[in-house]
């Protein structure tokens, strides 16, 4: 408890400063033009969501930030650094942790090897003990092959391993997809804890009921653009409008 309180004081001064700024971002896979001028920004310590229907460009936005798509134009500033010309392996070293939609657990590594795999990018990451406290299942299965875990455990592993690296900006792609309600709830509690530690989180999420109580702001995407920004305060009044945008 005292540790969490300390973490909050550490980052209070910096809260509200800009962590991520995306301007007029276009992205291409070969000939296909996927993102058509994405604009948004995220302040330090915020949790924002990217909402939208399938194919709206939410996952591609995260991949474009990580420089994992073919070609990009526009501007992506992370923690004050323009990253558009950076090589892919430089970007995580700015303190960015990425959790892909397919989770990306390595089958040739056991659970602990998977956890220890991503290199440390910043000091102040969580220790192995802390991660095992947060995800007790992982401790019990630490010698199992990574891909032998259940879907929920794999998701915990995919999140746990980026917490070790000291990343302060987390890009999480569809972390609740296909998981049982009890696991989804546990992941929600984890996000609350991470936010309390001062992490900045961009959440791509299909499950709006999961995201709504956690997020400070929501960005709605359509056809490769952000078409709407809704703050948590505006949410109750605009819920129906949002539902019509998402088609639920």
């Amino acid at each position: 408890m005292s540790q969490a309180a300390e973490a909050i004081t550490d980052y209070r001064d910096l809260d509200g400063a800009e962590m991520l700024r995306v301007r007029d971002l276009h992205a291409f896979y070969g000939e296909s033009h996927i993102l058509h001028g994405v604009d948004f920004d995220v302040r330090r310590g915020e949790l924002v969501t990217l909402l939208g229907r399938n194919g709206a460009g939410r996952s591609t936005t995260l991949k474009a930030i990580m420089n994992m798509v073919g070609r990009r134009t526009g501007s992506i500033v992370i923690n004050g650094n323009e990253t558009l010309a950076m090589r892919p392996h430089r970007i995580p070293r700015l303190g960015v942790g990425y959790c892909p939609e397919e989770r990306g657990i390595f089958s040739s590594l056991d659970v602990e090897e998977n956890l220890l795999l991503p290199p440390t990018v910043r000091s102040g990451g969580m220790g192995l003990d802390e991660i095992y406290t947060m995800f007790p299942n992982l401790y019990e299965r630490r010698r199992s092959q990574g891909t032998r875990l259940s879907g929920g455990e794999q998701q915990m592993l995919a999140m746990g391993r980026i917490l070790r690296t000291g990343a302060r900006l987390l890009l999480l792609d569809e972390i609740t997809e296909g998981l049982a309600p009890v696991i989804v709830q546990a992941l929600g509690e984890v996000l609350v804890k991470l936010k309390a530690r001062g992490m900045t989180i961009v959440l791509v999420e299909q499950n709006f009921r999961f995201a709504a109580p956690l997020a400070d702001r929501h960005f709605v995407m359509e056809h490769g653009r952000i078409i709407e920004e809704i703050s948590a305060a505006e949410l109750p009044a605009r819920r129906e409008h949002l539902n019509s945008l998402l088609g639920v």
């Binding site: 994992m68 070293r93 990306g104 390595f106 040739s108 090897e113 795999l117």
Partner: protein, 295 residues
């Protein structure tokens, strides 16, 4: 005299030992191929030529620079491995995004260039490399006579194979390598410099081939074509073991050497083909190879 299935024990053990030593070379070479294939997905057809370059570098180093065997064992893999890294940076990287068949064709072309250039200068007859003084003579094991150098080759090859296996399966660097083999894009997203990892891996695989070349120099005639004939067998070994499996490459290499040695004792006419027969059998029964994962 003790006989085993109608063959004198000494002859039997002698052939077995010869087979094991051939197997040690198969293991070293197929190990390098497996390491390279894992990360680069390229079947390195230049592997035989790089083995030959290792033997030649040792020979020329001794003749012109006075570099002795022990120093060559250390320096030659570094130099030839360095050449491998230059090849990866300047040539292989340019075609990395294309179908992997292009990599196969390109490395085959490189092999022809290396061989052709050396044939032009030295001819094909081959030269001999003296066995280092400390390893001359032999050991009487009671049941057979073992030339000291052959015993050394076996021990050195096994040690290098085991160290390589340990690095890949038990260390952090090896975990990078295994993970990079599975999902290089995600490794980059974790902050690992994958292009650099690829260069180092290719260099390491080539260095293993060069190391085998230096070990082979005192045993076989050093000639520009010494690699190409060996490589065909090594490819069969890799197919039998399963592409990309580290332990599989080592065990299959040694095993196939033994099979070849045994065939020489009982049916010498088939000694040169037995490995290919095993390959056909394995392809029929376990297409992914003895140690390979079913796709």
């Amino acid at each position: 005299m003790t006989m085993i299935f109608g063959v004198p024990l000494a002859v039997f053990m002698g052939q077995l030992m010869l087979g094991l030593i051939n197997g040690a070379f198969y293991a070293l070479l197929s190990l390098g191929l497996a390491v390279i294939f894992g990360l680069l997905k390229i079947i390195n057809f230049a592997h035989g030529a790089q083995y030959m370059l290792g033997a030649f570098a040792a020979l020329l180093g001794l003749q012109y620079l006075g570099i002795n065997y022990w120093l060559a064992l250390l320096l030659v893999p570094l130099v030839v491995g360095g050449l491998g890294m230059v090849i990866e940076r300047t040539v292989l990287r340019r075609i990395a995004h294309l179908d992997h068949l292009y990599g196969l064709l390109l490395t085959y072309g490189l092999a022809l260039i290396f061989e052709g250039a050396l044939i032009n200068v030295f001819g094909v007859s081959g030269a001999s490399y003296p066995v280092p003084e400390a390893l001359q003579g032999g050991l009487n094991l009671g049941f057979m006579f073992l030339p000291t150098y052959r015993g050394w080759v076996l021990v050195a090859a096994l040690v290098v194979c085991l160290v390589t296996w340990f690095i890949i399966e038990r260390t952090r660097l090896g975990a990078y390598l295994r993970a990079g083999t599975e999902n290089p894009a995600l490794m980059q997203a974790f902050g690992v410099n994958v292009p650099q990892l690829i260069t180092l891996t290719y260099g390491f695989g080539v260095a293993l081939a060069a190391f085998a070349g230096v070990l082979a120099a005192p045993l076989y005639p050093v000639s520009p074509t010494m690699g190409s004939s060996l490589l065909i067998v090594v490819f069969a070994v890799v197919v039998i073991g399963g592409m990309g499996s580290i332990l599989g490459a080592i065990l299959t290499g040694l095993g196939m050497g033994l099979v070849e040695g045994l065939t020489k004792v009982y049916y010498p006419e088939a000694a040169n083909t037995v490995i290919f027969l095993v390959m056909i059998l394995v392809l029929m029964l376990r297409p992914a190879g003895l140690f390979g994962k079913e796709a």
